[in-house]
Amino acid sequence: MFGSRPEDLEDGMSFLEQGILDSTGVLELVGHLEDRYGVAVTDNELVPANLDSIDRLCAFLGRKGASIQ
């Protein structure tokens, strides 16, 4: 999705600050989360606090009840 090598992506790294993802590109990420993990993301959840790093994504998916390792 991001065009970077997965091994280059650190868990706490901000997608926005690193230019990996921009504020519009988050739509693609949300589509992926819904498709891959079966969660429903509401409008109010489209915020960096939920989506802007691997750590935040894992926490968010955990709160949404997704099964993640």
Binding site: T24, G25, L27, E28
Partner: protein, 318 residues
């Protein structure tokens, strides 16, 4: 740095064969709008197969505007006459974007295919569609008489695509105003009441949204009895998405539908409007076209001698 530059800075590395390019308006068979078209024509050996390129929608069309030109030239230099058009309400063509639906885009694609035949005399037509354009291409095969189909990174769920249009509006509200003043549910009410919503500056109205939300891809894809290819972006050698494989099965599976990875990353929803260099996509398209031309058409018309409009289920589009 050099590798990054190579990826983003446009280089014209297509074969050096000469091509001729023409721009013109042509008539729409279903509206008063004049449509704007362009041809990329080989000046040397010309194949009997012509290509109609089917662009994506709205902002996504802008995102790949340059890529569509690059791809068209690349295909033409390989000997295939190419036709590109601006759809009703986009670019130089007449009409308004609010009038644009899946149905109007199918009609425009069919007009484009007929214009290509009239101008070049090609016997065979290939539809090459990108993203939502791939959906339109797939739905246009029967009316246009196309006997080959290339779907580049196709939208596999028009319903999810429609949902993302609403979401894009909401996200923009949040980014520009710091709050969501008009929630998705309210936007839906407004659309149902006949208003339009702006998505990256493009007014999307109820007919288009309904088309997307009621589209059935399986039927039209199963009805297409000829050769096809699905190209998907896979920068890290990812396997095709399960929905890509499903589309491939609908198109006849292995032997009739090739599924090929394009080793590149590409985002449709980034804020960036410039087009990255998608040479690998251009090469993949041309490679399949050349192979398709060298061998005989795979497939045969099953029971589809004539187009039946009711088989293209696109909701209540105008």
């Amino acid at each position: 740095v050099a590798q990054t530059l190579d990826r983003y800075v446009e280089t014209d590395d297509s074969p050096r064969a000469e091509i001729r390019e023409e721009c013109f308006f042509f008539g729409s068979s279903s509206s008063n709008a004049a449509l704007y078209g362009r041809t990329h024509l080989p000046t040397g050996r010309r194949r009997d197969i012509g290509v109609v390129m089917v662009s994506p929608l709205g902002r996504e069309r802008l995102r790949v505007c340059r890529e569509m030109a690059n791809l068209g030239r690349h295909i033409a230099r390989a000997g295939f006459p190419v036709f590109r058009l601006d759809y009703r309400g986009e670019g130089e063509s007449g009409g308004t974007f609010e009038e644009s639906t899946i149905r109007t885009r199918i009609e425009d694609t069919v007009d484009g295919a007929n214009e290509l035949r009239g101008r070049t005399g090609v016997k065979s037509v290939v539809l090459v569609g990108l993203h939502l354009g791939a959906v339109v291409a797939a739905l246009s095969t029967r009316l246009s008489g196309a006997d080959r189909l290339i779907l580049c990174d196709p939208v596999w769920s028009p319903q999810a695509y429609a949902r993302q249009l609403f979401r894009a509006n909401v996200l923009q509200q949040s980014q520009y105003f710091g709050e969501i003043a008009v929630a998705e549910s309210v936007l839906r009410e407004q659309i149902d009441a006949g208003e339009s919503m702006t998505v990256y500056g493009f007014p999307m109205a109820a007919p288009l949204i309904r088309d997307l939300e009621t589209l059935d891809l399986e039927g039209p894809l199963r009805e297409f009895a000829w050769s096809s290819a699905i190209l998907y972006f896979a920068a890290n050698n990812q396997a095709p998405h399960r929905e890509i494989l499903k589309m491939s099965e609908w198109l006849g599976g292995e032997g009739r539908c090739a599924v090929r990875a394009v080793p590149a990353s590409f985002s449709w929803s980034t804020r960036k409007l410039w087009t990255p260099n998608l040479t690998v996509l251009n090469e993949a398209v041309v490679s399949w076209l050349q192979q398709s031309d060298e061998r005989q058409l795979v497939g045969s018309p099953r029971t589809t001698p004539a187009y039946q409009p009711e088989l293209v289920r696109v909701g209540s589009g105008a």
